[in-house]
């Protein structure tokens, strides 16, 4: 069994199942091309907690809770739960923060970029190109001695932080707790945050994805990084499985629609789609995992990955409080007028500032001796 998951057949199967789940969750109620988007779901979670007040994107996404618990259960079952941490946590927080800013300018993380591609959204091509450039830059730093230092084993309590946090979110979700009559917890009544599959279906889907991804080390950033770094296609074949399966399910449920605009919850401002994802890709490469993988590693007891996840959560809050996130294209059916969305000028500057800061991290965290 262990061998199967580590094999190419294993990663392709896991990627296929995850892709099919992602597309099918849209059929069951999740927002278009957003069956599973780690960045969007983290943003919705930040909104539900009231860390930002963008009313359209507030929901405690059960998929993320499932990710952590699926990974935790799998790691415990296979003796891979290892509490650890201490590898430049504050830098990982910054990387998580800017990974989120970049993703929200594009309107999706790599998971959603591949989902959007499988749904026919051609803006995903620009985004994925940006992602590849960001990762390639990260690979250059890696080749030139960049690393965030060693993590060290810790006591069990350190490894349980994210599972306990997710348990608290789960309780808040199930009981729809209201701390004041208006909230938090906030739940969107309109917009993407109001669109979701039934709670326990989402949770079950998240659990299954968590187990499969923990076993196979499925990573959307690692797929491109390994290809660029050493022409290794193991993880890439998982992502290809994801895209093909999501595409097939999209065809079956009638959710495939080719074009640049209008596409659901997406914009066709190509430059900022590209640059947003470049920033995100660089952050993921420097932190050693895509946003999904950071959640899965958090479930395995990795305190550094947990810090990255908290960075994402706060990054999402800032992105919406400070108007950094991209606005989707708007299409008026009556007048046939398309209004192209994209980030505000604040969002554009945030991406530039993020790139400068993260490149500085890449440069200054190199070991000179190597």
């Amino acid at each position: 069994m262990k061998k199967f998951f580590a094999s190419r057949a294993g990663i392709v199967t896991a990627g296929g199942v995850i892709g099919a789940i992602a597309a099918y969750l849209v059929y069951l109620g999740n927002p278009p091309n957003m069956g599973v988007c780690v960045a969007c779901f983290t943003r919705d979670t930040a909104g539900a907690l009231g860390l930002h007040r963008a009313g359209a994107v507030q929901y405690l996404r059960p998929e993320l809770i499932g990710f952590v618990f699926g990974s935790l259960v799998s790691a415990l079952a296979f003796g891979e739960f290892r509490p650890r941490g201490g590898s430049a946590p504050v830098l990982r927080f910054v990387l998580g923060f800017f990974a989120m800013v970049g993703a929200l300018v594009f309107l999706g993380c790599p998971w959603r970029a591949f989902s959007r591609l499988a749904g026919g959204d051609l803006n995903a091509v620009t985004g994925i190109a940006g992602l590849a450039v960001g990762i390639a830059l990260g690979v250059w730093f890696l080749k030139n001695g960049y690393n965030l230092g060693r993590s060290t084993p810790s006591r069990p309590a350190a490894g349980w932080v994210m599972p306990v946090f997710m348990l608290i979110l789960f309780v808040l979700l199930v009981f729809e707790v209201k701390f004041t009559p208006e909230g938090p917890i906030f739940f969107s009544s309109a917009g993407p945050g109001s669109m979701h599959a039934p709670l326990f279906v989402s949770l079950g889907a998240g659990l299954l994805v968590g187990v499969l991804a923990q076993r196979t080390r499925f990573c959307t950033m690692g797929a491109l990084r390994d290809l660029i770094l050493m022409k290794e296609t193991h993880l890439l074949s998982g992502v290809l499985g994801f895209i093909v399966a999501a595409f097939a399910v999209n065809l079956l449920i009638g959710k495939f629609n080719v074009g640049f605009a209008p596409q659901p919850i997406a914009h066709s401002d190509h430059l900022w789609n590209f640059l947003g994802m470049s920033l995100s890709g660089l952050c993921f490469a420097l932190a050693g995992g895509c946003p999904g993988r950071q959640f899965f590693m958090s479930g395995e007891g990795d305190g550094d990955a947990s810090v990255f996840v908290f960075g994402m959560l706060i990054g999402a809050a800032f992105a919406h409080n400070f108007n950094l996130a991209g606005a989707p294209d708007k299409f008026d059916k009556a007048t046939q007028v398309l209004t192209v969305g994209g980030p505000s000028v604040w969002g554009q500057w945030a991406v530039i500032a993020g790139l400068v800061l993260v490149i500085a991290i890449g440069l200054f965290m190199r070991e000179k001796s190597r």
């Binding site: 290892r82 890696l142 080749k143 084993p153 990084r225 290794e232 550094d304």
Partner: protein, 71 residues
């Protein structure tokens, strides 16, 4: 005795692979790589096998010792 021993314990992905790959390209066999996670163990052995080397793995407490040699 190994010609080169790499302690890659605690290093995050893909550092262990990069270090092992560098050692393989230098060609000082046999190479020993110490890692402390299943993921790094799988990744380093996959890379070494693809580079045409043989890999034997020994498990010691919390450490995996990978011995990489020319086939």
């Amino acid at each position: 005795m190994a010609s080169e021993t790499i302690d890659a314990r605690g290093l995050s992905c893909p550092q262990p692979v990069i270090l092992a790959k560098k050692a393989i390209s230098k060609g000082d066999f046999p190479i020993e790589v110490m890692v402390d996670s299943e993921t790094s163990k799988e990744n380093v052995s996959r890379m070494a096998t693809h580079s045409g080397c043989s890999v034997s793995i020994e498990e010691r407490a919390d450490t995996f010792l990978l011995r990489i040699d020319k086939k």
